[in-house]
Amino acid sequence: MAIDSDLELMLRVRSGDAESFEILLNRYRLPLVGYFARMVRDRALAEDLAQEVFLRVYQARSRYQPEARFTTWLYRIATNLALNALRDRKGGGAASLDEDPDGVLRMARIADTSPTAEQELMLSDRARLIRAAVETLPEKQRAAVILHKYQGVDYHQIAGILEVSESAVKSLLFRAYENLRERLEPLLEGGKL
């Protein structure tokens, strides 16, 4: 059975087909929750925002114009919501790698190579260190990296989502990856935490 494209499904949703909307919901719930969880850290908020995206897509179904790719439109809504959520809670204490609140960076520098269960725990710490490094990025760099690295969105689409030029995306991603390379140096050098 041929898989319906997002565009076909959305056009059917526009004409009132609830089943097509269900397919889109199933197709994009995991990517959207994952995107928001990385953007805002809070899982409950991530789910809430992902539901809000679906609601907005449903409410705007009659105005949907298939000019851009569906995912560009979807992630544009999602990115605006995520950036607004971040701004709303700004000053509320997003984790900063400079402050190293969990001491993960310090632990990374003194880590040994012993395997065992402790390594599993360390793996979790590595993930926390990566998350903290991404969270130190300016909002747009963060969104660009998460879209590119974790959501598999290409430069052209990121430009459409962030409403900037493609060369601006290239530059944004370059600065973001350079920042991450610098901040995650202990992980890159040692290979193990």
């Binding site: 009132g16 995991l30 899982r43 609601l55 409410q59 990566i130 991603l173 390379r181 995650l184 992980l187």
Partner: protein
Amino acid sequence: MKSQSGCIEREQLLAYSNHMLEPREEERVRVHLETCGKCRETVAGYEKLSEVLDEWKPVEPSPWFDARARARIASRAPARPVFSLPGVRWVALVACAVLIALSGFWALRARNHVQRPAARQEAAAKAPAFSHSHPSTVAAASGSETSSVAQQRAVNQELDLYKNLPVLENYEMLANFDVLSELPQPRGDSND
């Protein structure tokens, strides 16, 4: 694009490691990397960074995510109006047209019912009044009212008016009216 040292710029190397270059540009970088250890090292650093970033795994939506999403949409999205359904729309239009036609018909019919008794009452009211003031024309009025009878009635009414003119009874008042005194006097009266 190459830097002053002859190496490819880091931004290009990052795009190369992300497979984001056009085929021609990608081939050019690949050829350069064969002979440049420094650029190879840079690309390897980006690839290592990408591997490290992969360690941050995504979270799964909770089991109740779908149900909550549906409930949220159901509670906030307005229900589809019944009249937007294709079949119902035509039925509703036809029903509206029939209703308008029926209400127009009933309105006309009700108006006729009201007008007929009113006309009868008006005719009944006119007949006695006419016979009271003009007994000679009662016979004519009781039958079909011809144009000569109508003319006669008009003449009689005019005569009645002249007979009852109150101004003629106040001749003295009019004679002393200033404006009238300024009018040229009749010849017989001018003895001066």
